[in-house]
């Protein structure tokens, strides 16, 4: 079965972000596939490369990066949500003349159409953090 995973919760503020990662790993371990992970609302904070958690807390953002790149799964952060929350890739930082970019490696900024496309094409959509 093919899953689309949607993350609405920010790392550290919400359990949703880690729960989604654990679920995503379980999906693959069970022999299913994931067509895309879409980060929306506060979930886009996961894509912030400047997060510096205490050493005794899980590096949630890096764990997502490893999961995405290791399994060749797209990690998409919604552009409208990102811009509101100050998550910028180099293109957006230039466009809005901001002092720097902070999109973590392994993540891509793209539009809401990616959420709809993933939802249409997956067998199941599972949302975390609502």
């Amino acid at each position: 079965m093919n899953f689309a995973i949607v993350v609405h919760g920010a790392p550290y503020s919400s359990e949703a972000c880690l729960s989604a990662l654990k679920f995503a790993k379980a999906v693959l371990a069970s022999g299913h596939s994931i067509n895309r992970v879409f980060f929306y609302h506060d979930g886009v904070h996961t894509a912030n490369s400047l997060i510096a958690p205490p050493q005794d807390e899980a590096p949630v953002s890096e764990q997502w990066q490893e999961f995405g790149t290791g399994n060749n799964i797209e990690l998409i952060a919604c552009i409208a949500s990102c811009l509101r929350r100050g998550i910028l890739d180099e293109t957006e930082a230039d466009r809005y003349e901001k002092s720097g970019s902070n999109l973590a490696p392994g993540f891509t900024i793209s539009g809401l159409g990616q959420l709809i496309d993933a939802s249409i094409n997956a067998d199941r959509v599972v949302t975390f953090g609502v």
């Binding site: 809401l112 709809i116 249409i120 609502v130």
Partner: protein
């Protein structure tokens, strides 16, 4: 093509969830058949005459008027939640069908995917 049901359960103000949910619905309706179900405090999103002047936020409720133009034909709300909040359909910005529990269950089952906001 999969049909998508958007379920809105958050109040209109106090967080951006409702506004970003509506954005997703408008985008979804450009791709495929989408419907929307308002439950719980999500019903408050539909109340007419909202003003956000004193809040300093965007009054996105005006965009609900565009749903029909976007091809969102089925717009429904929970009848028990409507009654629990002392609202009736005349309070709403747009025409909405109210569904009892059994009808809501059927409505949800009638769609391929559900996105919650």
């Amino acid at each position: 093509m999969s049909t998508i049901l958007f379920v809105f359960s958050r109040p209109p103000h106090g967080s951006i969830n409702a506004q970003e949910g509506l954005d997703a619905l408008l985008m979804g309706s450009a791709f495929t058949t989408c419907s929307v179900l308002f439950v719980g405090d999500g019903l408050m999103q539909l109340v007419a005459g909202q003003s956000t002047d004193d809040l300093g936020t965007k009054n996105f409720s005006l965009s609900f008027g565009a749903l029909k133009d976007y091809g969102v034909t089925r717009i429904a709300c929970s009848k028990p939640d409507l009654l629990a909040r002392g609202l009736n359909k005349d309070d709403f910005l747009i025409e909405v069908e109210s569904l009892n529990a059994a009808a809501m269950q059927a409505f949800i089952r009638n769609h391929d995917k559900v996105l919650n906001f």
